[in-house]
């Protein structure tokens, strides 16, 4: 069960283009699992920024000198993350977590391909630790626009059987995207399962490739959130349930980890017409010609019930 903690910044460091913040957060670290996230309040007590910022958990230390800590990676994208990047050690920080569904782990030792885009690799490291503890083989694929936007390449090399790196500008590794190299990695490693985190476009490509290869794929999505705890209904996306019905589900509590083949990537940003509770088009019954109204007065084809 998540808790809200008056935490304390233990450290803040630069990692390439990113920032890594470690927070003493007793009660969060002890129960956090790979794939879960935390939210932090930004801007201080009288902040004008009402939305907490969600971050995937990078490192979890259940017992530190000062109690359990969690570390998360962020990029300065706006005023909230700029405020976070300006914190000093020992400053208080309001943190809620762990939130969301974690990655599921294979019961037997398996070959796992981990795919990360940008700092989407962050939650894949605690996942790799958990997988390795179960005797799984790790093959890591990471991509970014350029070298400094890769995250954790050295660590990935240390823990994986193979590491494949792609950059869109070719500054390091294969010039292109993770989807260019993934099919080869899947076949050469004889992958049993794929785990991915990164931008939605990348997740769509990875899910397609895994699906085509008949390999199970779990993805952690990044959706815009307001509350992070399941009450606001901001972070929804169309996902097919076990019953075959598409629902607009909350990525904060029903995710952020989903089975890749259940997410209707092409319909994200829309309400699919067959989703549960979708607006129904009005069925216009054929009428005798004489009773047809001038077109300008006809009802719109789609209205909300």
């Amino acid at each position: 069960m998540p808790v809200q903690v008056n935490g304390e910044v233990l450290s803040l460091r630069r990692v390439g283009a990113y920032h890594a913040m470690t927070v003493v957060a007793p009660g969060v670290a002890e129960i956090a699992k790979p794939g879960q996230f935390v939210t932090v309040a930004v801007g201080g007590p009288d902040t004008s920024m009402m939305m907490r910022r969600p971050f995937s958990i990078y490192q979890i230390r259940e017992r530190g000198v000062y109690g359990g800590t969690v570390e998360f990676i962020f990029s300065i994208e706006g005023r909230g993350t700029a405020w976070l990047a300006a914190r000093q050690a020992h400053e208080p920080i309001d943190i809620v977590g762990p939130l969301g569904k974690a990655f599921s782990l294979p019961r037997e030792p398996a070959t796992c391909v981990l795919v990360g885009g940008g700092y989407g690799t962050a939650p894949l490291f605690p996942l790799a630790d958990a997988l390795r503890a179960r005797g799984c083989r790790i093959d890591f694929v990471m991509g970014a626009s350029k070298e400094e936007r890769l995250f954790g390449a050295l660590d990935a090399k240390r823990i994986s059987a193979t590491l494949s790196v792609t950059t869109e500008d070719g500054s390091v590794g294969h010039r292109g995207r993770v989807s260019d190299v993934l099919p080869d990695v899947l076949s050469s490693s004889k992958a049993d399962v794929v785990y991915a985190c990164g931008p939605m476009g990348m997740l769509r490509a990875v899910s397609r490739i895994a699906d085509a290869a008949g390999i199970a794929c779990q993805i952690a999505v990044e959706e815009l959130m307001a509350c992070g705890v399941g009450v606001c209904m901001t972070c929804v996306l169309p996902v097919v349930g076990d019953d075959g019905v598409t629902r607009m589900v909350r990525s904060c509590v029903d995710g952020p980890v989903f089975h890749g083949d259940r997410v209707r990537f092409d319909d994200i940003g829309t309400i699919p017409a067959d989703a549960l509770g979708a607006p129904q088009p009005i069925v216009v019954k054929p009428q005798p010609r004489s009773s047809l109204k001038p077109t300008g007065q006809q009802a719109s084809a789609e209205v909300t019930r």
Binding site: Y66, M248, G277
Partner: protein
């Protein structure tokens, strides 16, 4: 340094017995205290129960429920704004039957009081919802959401027209059992809030919830298009507090006998006190829950302290007090020393 760290307990620390009587009422609904959640900001309580005891609040106001399951609007549905947010959720929900089977019993079992918010696309849907709820036990109050701005047809915002508002209120009031109060939730986006309020009261509303969000737009300057997929959304949070407070003030001034559930950007106990002083008998906490999931219990404790510090025997004594004559300078009932002997700067005003 670890001494400064505290895990916020799921159950708020037991306070020293306070001398302030926090009980209040909304029509016939008697509440142990005047702090509720706001519709759409607390689901039906389950998620927030991870952070505090939902039965400790005056009541949980559930997310507006409609007859059928509803997917809501497309994403993006949210944009952060200065001291607030814009949302266009569009009343996503499971439909009435699932709510009655899954959500309401959970609240009742927890010992929480349930205020059920209902929303209809037509007077007929409101009537059907109310008729079905008539058979249901465990509902402390009904809030008719006649002011959701996130509907495709602005004609569905009943609260923008006195006659439409009255039609819904009358239909709901007739259908619901008489011992269950019916409140109408009003929109601040009207020319004359008092006219709408009068119309609702004349149609049988036992009280008024004020206010819903204000309609707004945010434009993304990179894409040069509206941020929200639904283009417009409802503005909430501290940014709208003075507007909501003004609505409560005006309606209480016009009809001091009508109970008001006040809401709009409440972040602290002092914010809640402003609404009570303006005429609200109780308050709902909305957007601040997203910022601080434990805020409802925090605000309740802060409000109790604020009332005690001002010498109130009960919260009921503070309702509408701001409409009275100003006390002479130097005779504030509380320790307002910081207002004396120095110039009042904007920083001295409660934020």
């Amino acid at each position: 340094m670890s001494s400064t760290l505290t895990v916020r307990s799921a159950v708020p620390a037991v306070k020293a017995a306070s001398s302030v009587d926090m009980t209040t009422s909304l029509g016939r609904f008697e509440l142990p205290n005047p702090v509720l959640t706001a519709s759409g900001c607390a689901g039906a309580g389950q998620e927030l129960a991870q952070f505090f005891d939902v039965a400790a609040l005056g009541a949980i106001v559930t997310k507006s429920i409609m007859m059928n399951a509803r997917s809501g609007r497309a994403t993006p549905r949210m944009a952060e704004t200065p001291s607030g947010m814009l949302n266009s959720i569009g009343l996503q929900g499971p439909g009435l039957e699932v709510f009655l089977e899954r959500d309401l019993p959970w609240l009742v079992e927890r010992g929480a009081r349930a205020v059920v918010s209902i929303a209809g696309g037509s007077v007929d849907e409101f009537t059907k919802l109310a008729m079905r709820l008539r058979e249901v036990r465990g509902i402390s109050m009904i809030e008719a959401n006649i002011s959701c701005p996130n509907v495709e047809d602005r004609g569905q915002v009943f609260a923008c027209d006195p006659r439409s508002a009255a039609e819904v209120v009358q239909a709901v009031r007739r259908a619901v059992r008489s011992e269950v109060p019916v409140f109408a939730k009003l929109s601040p986006d009207v020319t004359d809030i008092v006219a709408i309020a009068r119309s609702c009261v004349a149609a049988g509303a036992d009280g008024l919830s004020m206010t819903n969000t204000l309609l707004g737009i945010v434009i993304d300057t990179d894409t040069m298009r509206p941020v929200l997929a639904g283009v417009t959304g409802g503005l909430s949070g501290p940014a709208i507090r003075p507007v909501a407070l003004r609505c409560v003030w005006q309606v209480h001034a016009a009809m001091p006998e009508v109970p008001i559930l006040g809401m709009g950007g409440i972040r602290t106990g002092l914010d809640a006190l402003q609404f009570i002083l303006a005429g609200a008998s109780a308050v709902s906490i909305g957007t601040e829950i997203f910022h601080d999931p434990m805020s409802p219990v925090r605000i309740l404790a802060e409000l109790e302290d604020a009332l005690a510090a001002r010498g109130f025997a009960g919260v009921a004594d503070a309702v509408g007090l701001a409409h009275g004559e100003r006390p002479p300078a130097g005779e504030f009932p509380i320790d307002a020393a910081h207002h004396h002997g120095q110039l009042l700067t904007p920083d001295d005003n409660p934020v």
